[in-house]
């Protein structure tokens, strides 16, 4: 479960920026194709934030749907899973436009 080490890293970053103040909210942006399980992330956040400045913080996750763009026909394709090839006739490569984000947007102290 890589969410554990990712969450440890999130908590450490937020603590550094909170500069001693208790954190009230943590706002993340997570793409649906980022390879991160949100349930696991929430669970790990509960565990990792104990005894830190984040112990009272609520975790808010903005989910970003997956979106690809065909390199040939340039149509935009909704992606609910990672596919590499456009469904169009040309079967061209899809470039991932959105959905692989994994960011700490902001914290509220």
């Amino acid at each position: 479960m890589h969410e554990l080490s990712l969450t440890q890293s999130i908590v450490a970053t937020c603590e550094r920026h909170a500069e001693g103040q208790p954190v009230k909210r943590v706002m993340l942006k997570v793409g649906r194709l980022a390879g991160v399980e949100l349930d696991a992330l929430r669970f790990c956040f509960g565990v990792c934030s104990e005894q830190t400045l984040l112990r009272e913080a609520t975790l808010e996750i903005e989910e970003i749907p997956g979106l690809g763009e065909c390199q040939q026909c340039h149509q935009r394709v909704d992606m609910d899973r990672l596919i590499a090839v456009c469904p169009c006739e040309k079967r061209a490569r899809l470039r991932l436009v959105a959905g692989d984000e994994f960011m700490i947007q902001a914290i509220e102290v």
Binding site: S9, E15, R16, G20, G35, F102, A106, E108
Partner: protein, 317 residues
């Protein structure tokens, strides 16, 4: 994790060079090195290198230096309407108010920075570095055993061996004569760039060598962590389902080479090779694909040639 060591944090990482020197990396990055008497009793005291203390310095009051990369400034958006002033870029909000600190920081950015450092090391040493990944049991260690033996007369080799527990695989691989350092990740299910960095300092791979990193057996977690490698090789054995690549697209989509392994078993299975290939193509259309059997040796030569070519391309020989 070291069973005899006092460190009880399950996320401890240990690195073992096979000569009894043993480094623990605690969850907060503190490094503790000590040596175990090989073959000694299960329970023995050990000294922790230098500082003796397992002091965990946690974030909070520690160093507050932060690097703001280029565009990342502390933009403050205040929820409330009451205006107040800031000293420096650090906001001191009234107690009744809250302050929004915009970070816009990618969670994997730190690992990627550390992977960059590995890449610089690889370049300096003229190493050609392969990250081997698969589910547990797809045949990574067996293939490495054979590969090390075949390559050694032509190219120097070295191995970083990742497993959650035990040094079994490292011990197997050392029998080929290659230098091997074991990295145990404890509960960690993947290698990260800083573990590789620490492993490298013990491995000290010879200049110009091909370095193999056997990642922890797992088709999910290692996919997200760049180690600085030149090539990602994903193994997938014919005893697994043909649709593995579609089920684990994160792992396969960034593979440079997919190895379909254990082909000696094909006559006994109903494994549809065409389906397996189209499953790979669906998520990783640009990956090369080779079929091989470590047992029969079929296809091993093409793999060895692939490695030699990689070495020529990255090392420029």
């Amino acid at each position: 994790m070291c069973g005899t060591c006092g460190c009880s944090d399950p996320s401890n990482v240990t690195i073992d060079d096979g000569r009894g020197v043993h480094t623990h990396i605690l969850a907060d990055g503190t490094e503790v090195t000590h040596s175990h008497e090989r073959g000694g009793s299960q329970h023995h005291a050990h000294e922790h290198g230098g500082s003796q203390h397992h002091a965990h310095e946690h974030g909070g009051s520690q160093h507050h230096g932060h690097e703001h990369g280029g565009s990342q400034h502390h933009a403050h958006e205040h929820g409330g309407s009451q205006p107040h002033t800031h000293h420096s870029d650090r906001s001191i909000a009234p107690a009744h108010d809250t302050t929004l600190i915009t970070l816009e920081q990618r969670v994997l950015a730190k690992n990627e920075r550390l992977a960059e450092r590995n890449r610089a090391f690889f370049l300096g040493r003229k190493l050609s570095v392969v990250n081997l990944m698969s589910s547990p049991g797809s045949g990574k260690t067996c293939l490495l055993e054979r590969t090390l033996t075949e390559l050694r007369p032509h190219v120097d080799v070295a191995v970083l061996e990742g497993d959650q527990e035990t040094s079994n695989d490292a011990a197997r691989l050392r029998q080929t004569g290659a230098p091997v350092v074991q990295i145990n990740t404890g509960t960690g299910c993947h290698l990260e760039a800083d573990m590789v960095w620490r492993g490298l300092s013990q491995l000290d791979p010879p200049a110009g060598s091909t370095l193999f990193i056997e990642n922890v057996g797992n088709l999910v977690c290692p996919a997200l962590f760049d180690l600085g490698e030149h090539a990602r090789v994903v193994l997938f054995s014919v005893t697994e389902g043909e649709d593995k690549p579609v089920k684990y697209p994160h792992m396969f989509r960034r593979a440079d080479l997919v190895l379909l392994t254990k082909t000696d078993l094909l006559p006994y299975l109903e494994f549809d090779l065409d389906r397996a290939h189209s499953s790979i193509t669906e998520v990783a259309p640009d990956a090369e694909v080779l079929q091989l059997s470590t047992k029969s040796g079929e296809g091993v030569d093409a793999w060895v040639q692939w490695l030699k070519r990689l070495s020529r391309e990255t090392v420029g020989r």
